[in-house]
């Protein structure tokens, strides 16, 4: 499977999983999904991107849908008032999206970090070997030999 295809599959799966969790009130599934994304994607930069996108999508989609159905204005203004930001309807929307992004991002970062440590552990021969090979190629002393 190509890296691009794997990225897309993991991302779509992550969004769906995260959305399902939130619908059930399990908002932390966004974070857990991020962890899974981090573990699943090999390259370090792709995991946080996918995690952030999945969080963004999962936490934005219901807002977009609600806005289409009955309008977010009164609700957003009410939440802003409760937060002490009277009249600033955009703040709750932005905060909601940020929370989603942060959960996805942090989860995927954690997942990627775990993967990084686990795959480079001394007890993991294959990964150790890859590391040795790269070191040998780049080591000028060994090249001289």
């Amino acid at each position: 499977m190509s890296a691009r295809r794997r990225f897309a599959l993991v991302l779509v799966g992550g969004i769906l999983l995260s959305l399902s969790g939130m619908f059930l009130g399990l908002w932390w599934v966004t974070f857990a999904t991020g962890v899974a994304i981090g573990l699943a994607l090999p390259r370090t930069w792709t995991a946080p991107v996918a995690g952030a996108i999945s969080g963004l999508a999962a936490w934005s989609e219901p807002l977009i849908e609600a806005n289409a159905q009955y309008g977010l204005g009164p609700t957003s203004l009410s939440i802003a008032a409760i937060m002490g930001a009277n009249g600033a309807a955009l703040i709750p929307i932005a905060l909601t999206v940020i929370v989603g992004v942060l959960l996805g991002l942090a989860g995927s970062w954690l997942g990627a970090a775990i993967r990084g440590v686990a795959l480079n552990s001394p007890r993991s021969g294959a990964v150790e070997k890859l590391g040795d090979q790269r070191l040998e190629v780049k080591d000028p002393v060994l090249t001289q030999r």
Binding site: M22, F23, L24, G25, W27, W28, F31, W59, P62, L63, A66, Q69, Y70, G71, L72, P74, T75, L77, S78, I79, A80, A81, I82, G84, A85, N86, G87, P92, L95, T96, V99, L102, L103, A106, G107, W109, L110, A112, A113, I114, G116, V117, N120, G131, L135, D139, V141, L142, Q144, R145
Partner: protein, 854 residues
């Protein structure tokens, strides 16, 4: 070779170092990820500081955003309710008014419970938590422990114990028991629904808890909350402090039993004779130890959150007999004055079932119409304000630990223990001691217990349901026989043109010679021995003049043979009652007959009766004086004033500031020289102390202008001297506050009104906006800004069969709902909405129908 080995060794070391470094970086990365994730998850799960738990709060599917989904869920639909016996219907008018029709009475109450919880669940939860001492469980200790102190006090006072007794004493087959149980089922149906569909009110999500199931005790507690707010008073403590500082003679003179000025009692007598009436003067002197203990208790009570102690009431109601109305039917008007909140204390309904056909307002949490009408009668209420709170100083001795002396023997205190759950800390343990008088609420200095009529178990829902079903005055009066507390003036009008007014409730009596206006000895001689017989409580039915009216004034004349409280405890000065009577009499004399429109005009009347009495004296005192500048302009404005506290009136501002200045100029020197520990400014202008002192000032100004009270004021010798100085002070104060142009000193710049959000969220409060009225006008608006006033206005014309009502709020507590505050503007503008019956509501534009099925 050696060099090669050396190089190889160096390379190996370097490789190792890089590997170790890279691994360290990866571990560092993991550590950082763990830390950041942990912090984010902590804030998301538990919140931090002012931040709520971000995850559940902002989850768009189940968090605060569901306010929008809830607001969109009021349309026509079918709902399934556990416990429903037969299908029922709820019609919601376009303005949110709910009309419930059921084929059994049980289902009617179940449906009320469901509808209340659908629109007011968080409010209901707060109300029960307040009375049950469980606010700390969800709010924490509060700043300065104010939330926990509220819980402690409530558990000491005993609303919960009383509610439990009431429930135990309610017979199994009693209709009100059936109603309360069915109601609880309906509330719980809604709680389950809301949990299942993630539609719990947003405040639950933001505070991070879910409501527990509703119980019958909760409904009884909600009623207890209202009783406490309306008549748990501390006046004997205030009197004791006044006695200690001003002295017994001055206190008796300034704070008498009977009001010093003419009032308009609605029950003028004649009364059945009784000879053993207690007299207030001469008053006994309060000892140092007693004063110290009282001061401590007074401070404690006044540090409690607003609403736990009744500090004054203000409501209006009146009725006009059919013989005096244009329509030929009786007219009735009622506007109970309460704290104005969003959501409101009221929820408007129409109820139809085999046993009930009633419309009006209910209190969320309680399954009965409190104010309203049925097919034959209408009623409303005002607080009667008689003394229902008595303090007792228990006699103790170190030789008899945990006992008190009563009726000649030592008696063991009963104790009850509570563990108050506190959010964020360990439970707070509380032990409450109970004497025969009631709970001990202070042990500082002296052990003080309180006898409060609200702690006498009563079946108030049975009474309310009896009123809801009454068909004539006899049935109405019979139903009220079992109403104990708070004492209310229930006004009555019916479809036969009859009118009446009855001040139902307990009027506790102590033995002759006792001094109930002060804390009394708890040794038995001063105990409450009974209440005024029901037949002799203030009441009137179809009086000759055809009108009945109440506005918290003393209901009876000076020759009423029973003690019902002092002028300080805490009857209204009577200005609104006098103004209502003046208005009605004036109309009857001029036009002969009254209309519903007249009733509405009177409910929003802004004429200040006290100003009408006092301003002429001020004008006379200023006449002949050389006035210049702003003093002259203010004098001219007052000279031509109509005594209306309209928001665009400048003389209204001048009058009010003058009156406060006059009060201060007269009494502040006494407070200062005698070191009076009762704060005159406490509670703002709602302070009953100021009401009483104002009555004294009115009396002295008009009939005793050389009263010695004036001689402490600088070089003043009489009322005129003090008035002139106070007038000048008022003008200077207004110029300083509102600018030098007297034409811009409009009342609305000083006096505003607001409808406060119940959770004190300022962004969800309506106002403050400039508004007319003051605490003495029928359109009651005390304080600055005023958050107290007509909480519901109802006008009934039985001849024309028109029923109108409005309250300053909306049916829903959801701020995103179109029904959050939709009634405020109509109410603010003095307009009304028709109170439709079920059929008219069902066919009204924009109505939604809920079909309820099992």
């Amino acid at each position: 070779m050696r060099e090669h080995r050396l190089n190889a060794s160096n390379a190996s070391s370097s490789r190792l170092a890089r590997r170790v470094g890279l691994r360290a970086v990866r571990f560092l990365n993991l550590g950082a990820a763990v830390l950041v994730s942990a912090a984010l998850l902590y804030v998301s799960f538990f919140g931090a500081g002012p931040l709520p738990a971000l995850g559940p709060a902002f989850n768009p599917e189940t968090g605060a955003w569901t306010m929008g989904a809830d607001a969109a869920s009021y349309g026509t639909q079918t709902l399934h309710l556990d416990g429903l016996q037969k299908p029922a219907k709820v019609v919601l008018e376009a303005n949110g008014t709910a009309h419930i029709s059921a084929t059994t009475d049980h289902d009617l109450f179940l449906a009320i419970g469901y509808v209340h919880a659908k629109f007011r669940l968080f409010q209901m939860d707060l109300l029960r938590r307040q009375g049950e001492g469980r606010l700390s469980e969800v709010l924490g200790r509060g700043s300065n422990d104010d939330v926990l102190n509220s819980d402690r006090f409530e558990l000491q006072l005993g609303l919960l114990r009383t509610a439990q007794k009431e429930w135990e004493q309610l017979p199994k087959d009693n209709p009100s028991r059936i109603a309360i149980l069915a109601y609880a089922q309906g509330v719980n149906d809604r709680i389950e629904d809301a949990k299942r569909t993630h539609q719990l009110p947003a405040m639950f999500t933001l505070l991070g808890y879910e409501p527990k199931p509703w119980t019958p005790i909760d409904s009884l507690i909600v009623k207890g909350d209202m009783t406490q707010t309306l008549n748990f008073t501390d006046t004997p403590l205030v009197m004791a402090l006044l006695d200690k500082s001003l002295g017994p003679d001055l206190t008796a003179e300034w704070f008498p039993v009977l009001p010093p000025n003419p009032q308009s009692p609605y029950d003028p007598g004649p009364y059945a004779p009784r000879t053993d009436v207690g007299k207030i003067a001469p008053m006994r002197a309060v000892s140092d130890g007693e004063a110290s203990a009282v001061a401590s208790l007074y401070d404690r009570l006044h540090s409690l959150p607003r609403g736990l102690i009744a500090t004054g009431g203000a409501s209006n109601n009146w009725a006009v007999a059919g013989s005096k109305s244009v329509s030929g039917g009786a007219l009735m008007a009622g506007d109970p004055h309460l704290h104005l909140t969003l959501p409101a204390i009221w929820f408007q309904v129409t109820l139809d079932s085999p046993g009930y056909h009633v419309a009006g307002v209910t209190i969320p949490g309680a399954p009965a119409v409190v104010i309203g009408h049925n097919r034959h009668i209408s009623w409303s209420l005002t607080d009667a304000q008689n003394q229902q709170t008595f303090f007792y100083e228990e006699k103790e001795d170190k030789a008899h630990p945990n006992q008190y002396s009563w009726n000649g023997s030592w008696k063991q205190y009963t104790t009850v223990s509570y563990d108050i759950p506190v959010l964020g800390s360990s439970p707070d343990h509380l032990t409450v001691k109970l004497s025969v008088h009631g709970p001990v609420i202070s042990e500082r200095g002296l052990t003080t217990s309180v006898w409060w009529a609200g702690n006498v178990p009563s079946q108030d829902f049975q009474v309310l349901l009896g009123i809801d079903q009454a068909g004539n005055f006899q049935e109405f009066r019979d139903a009220l026989r079992d109403w104990y507390s708070p004492t209310h003036n229930f006004v009555y009008a019916d479809d036969q043109g009859n009118v009446g007014l009855i001040s139902a409730g307990y009027y506790p009596q102590v033995a002759p010679g006792c001094e109930p206006w002060l804390p009394m000895p708890g040794t038995g001689e001063d105990d409450v021995i009974g209440t005024i017989p029901y037949e002799q409580i203030p009441q009137v039915y179809n009086p000759p003049n055809g009108i009945v009216w109440s506005a918290n004034q003393r209901q009876v004349a000076a020759d009423y043979p029973y003690y019902i409280g002092t002028a300080l405890n805490f009857f209204d000065p009577g200005y609104r009652a006098n103004e209502i009577l003046r208005f009605l009499n004036d109309k009857l004399q001029k036009g002969g007959k009254l209309t519903a429109a007249d009733m509405m005009a009177l409910q929003t009347d802004t004429r200040d009766y006290l100003a009408g009495n006092m301003v002429p004296f001020l004008i006379r005192a200023l006449a002949g004086q050389t006035l210049t500048g702003n003093d002259k302009a203010a004098y001219d404005a007052l000279s031509s004033w109509n005594y209306r506290m309209d928001k665009d009136s400048t003389p209204a501002s001048i009058w009010w500031v003058f009156w406060q200045s006059y009060l201060s100029a007269t009494f502040d020197p006494w407070w200062s020289t005698h070191k009076v520990k009762v704060d005159r400014s406490d509670g703002g202008n709602s302070n009953p102390l100021n009401d009483m002192l104002g009555q004294d000032l009115e009396a002295w100004t008009s009939r005793d202008p050389t009263n010695p009270a004036f001689t402490l004021v600088g070089s003043a010798q009489n009322a005129d001297d003090v008035m002139r100085a106070a007038f000048h002070t008022a003008v200077v104060s207004l110029a300083s506050r509102l600018g030098s142009d007297p034409k811009k000193w409009t009342w609305g710049r000083i006096h505003t009104r607001e409808v406060e959000n119940l959770a004190q969220i300022s962004g969800l409060t309506y106002g403050p906006l400039p508004d007319s009225g003051d605490r003495f006008t029928p359109l009651a608006a005390p304080d600055f800004p005023s958050a107290h006033g007509p909480s519901w206005r109802m006008v009934v014309d039985w001849g024309a069969q028109t029923f109108s009502g409005i309250y300053p709020g909306g049916q829903s507590e959801n701020p995103a709902s179109p029904w959050y505050s939709n009634g405020v503007t109509t109410w603010w503008n003095g307009k009304y909405a028709p109170m439709l019956d079920f059929d008219h509501a069902a066919s009204s534009p924009g109505a939604a129908v809920w079909r309820l099925q099992a």
